[in-house]
Symmetry: C2
């Protein structure tokens, strides 16, 4: 299979969300055009995105909503559950630990860790904050695939080194720092300040930011 662009994967995730809404409304079938307008793209884009993985529609008819939901979940790897550990139980870590959007998509938070004794032992929803000293033991025991980093920027690199050494192969980084990961580990970074700065650029340069 040829490499798939990240932009394609991101759109598939959005299509899935819309399909679920359409399903909830009882719609049985949908065309690429309908899926496209709900998301500001074109019908050709929708069809091309799907075509990398097979053909899921019926010419003349469109796509069966339930089938396509199943197919996209399969493509994205959501037909199974993934285990997630959250490192850092500050404001953002705590918010993510209780975020329902994860559980409903098969991402199970199996542990949340902090260094601060005042936080250790507190309950966040279903789960109790544990000492950061237990990170390695728990990763080896529970074998989570994904670590979500919600620690201060200064310690981000050290924490990434620890979790990747312990066997984590995917990292979602909310810490405001650029970190390096070893080969074989995927990392994605979400930086709130950068998002605001892109907005500020758009406000400062009307008409000049490519949409």
């Amino acid at each position: 299979m040829k490499p798939i662009a990240e932009s394609t994967v991101r759109r598939l995730s959005l299509y899935l969300r819309f399909l679920e809404e359409f399903e909830a409304q009882g719609q049985l079938t949908i065309s690429s055009g309908e899926l496209a307008v709900s998301r500001g793209t074109t019908s050709a884009q929708v069809r091309k995105d799907l075509s990398f993985f097979g053909s899921f529609g019926k010419r003349g008819l469109g796509y069966d909503v339930r089938d396509l939901i199943g197919s996209i979940r399969q493509i994205l790897g959501l037909h199974r559950t993934w285990s997630v550990v959250i490192i850092g139980a500050g404001k953002i870590g705590a918010a993510l630990a209780q975020y329902r959007g994860f559980a409903t998509r098969g991402f199970h938070v199996v542990g949340i860790y902090d260094k601060d004794p005042a936080r250790i032992g507190t309950k966040l929803g279903e789960i109790t904050v544990r000492s950061d000293l237990e990170i390695e033991r728990d990763i080896e025991r529970l074998r989570p695939q994904i670590a979500v980093l919600c620690v201060p920027g200064e310690v981000a690199q050290a924490v990434v080194d620890r979790v990747t050494d312990a066997g984590i192969t995917a990292v979602l980084n909310f810490a405001p720092a650029q970190v390096q990961v070893p080969n074989g580990v995927t990392m994605r970074a979400v930086n709130m300040a950068t998002e605001l700065e892109i907005l500020a650029f758009g406000l400062s340069h009307p008409e000049e930011l490519a949409s």
Copy 2:
């Protein structure tokens, strides 16, 4: 000026972060190559990104760190302050209201609003949660440029309509819903679940996600 790609703006924001670190360490001058390695891109990319906005370096020497910081801040529109309102004082809204990364870059949170009477009146750092009924009046009075949406997906569209009607021209959407904005309003969305799903895709299809 020709349209600037979002990827360019995003990199400028990252360059700025590194430059500030270099400045803190007392480094006076930097080459495009040094800036590139710290961020996993190439020196040509750095120079091209900057070239859209002018020439900031000296051939043979590189860039003056302080000057370049100033220039990038100017380009991004960070030479002034921006006023931000946060709508929704749940976990994520509360976390963002207290996030220091905003204030240090000139983004001032001038209001946070919620519908839930239990939250109205509580203090989050410096700022007190106000009733969502005051959103319109405050926007007209304080003239914030940016709204950050941290409300449940079901009400996201309604809230966006309210703030854009009141005069907001840029929206950062953390709500897990696709929303439409009128012409002339910029919107960016950050979706935690989508980020995890991209990671899951990578874990499910080793070697197939274009890096």
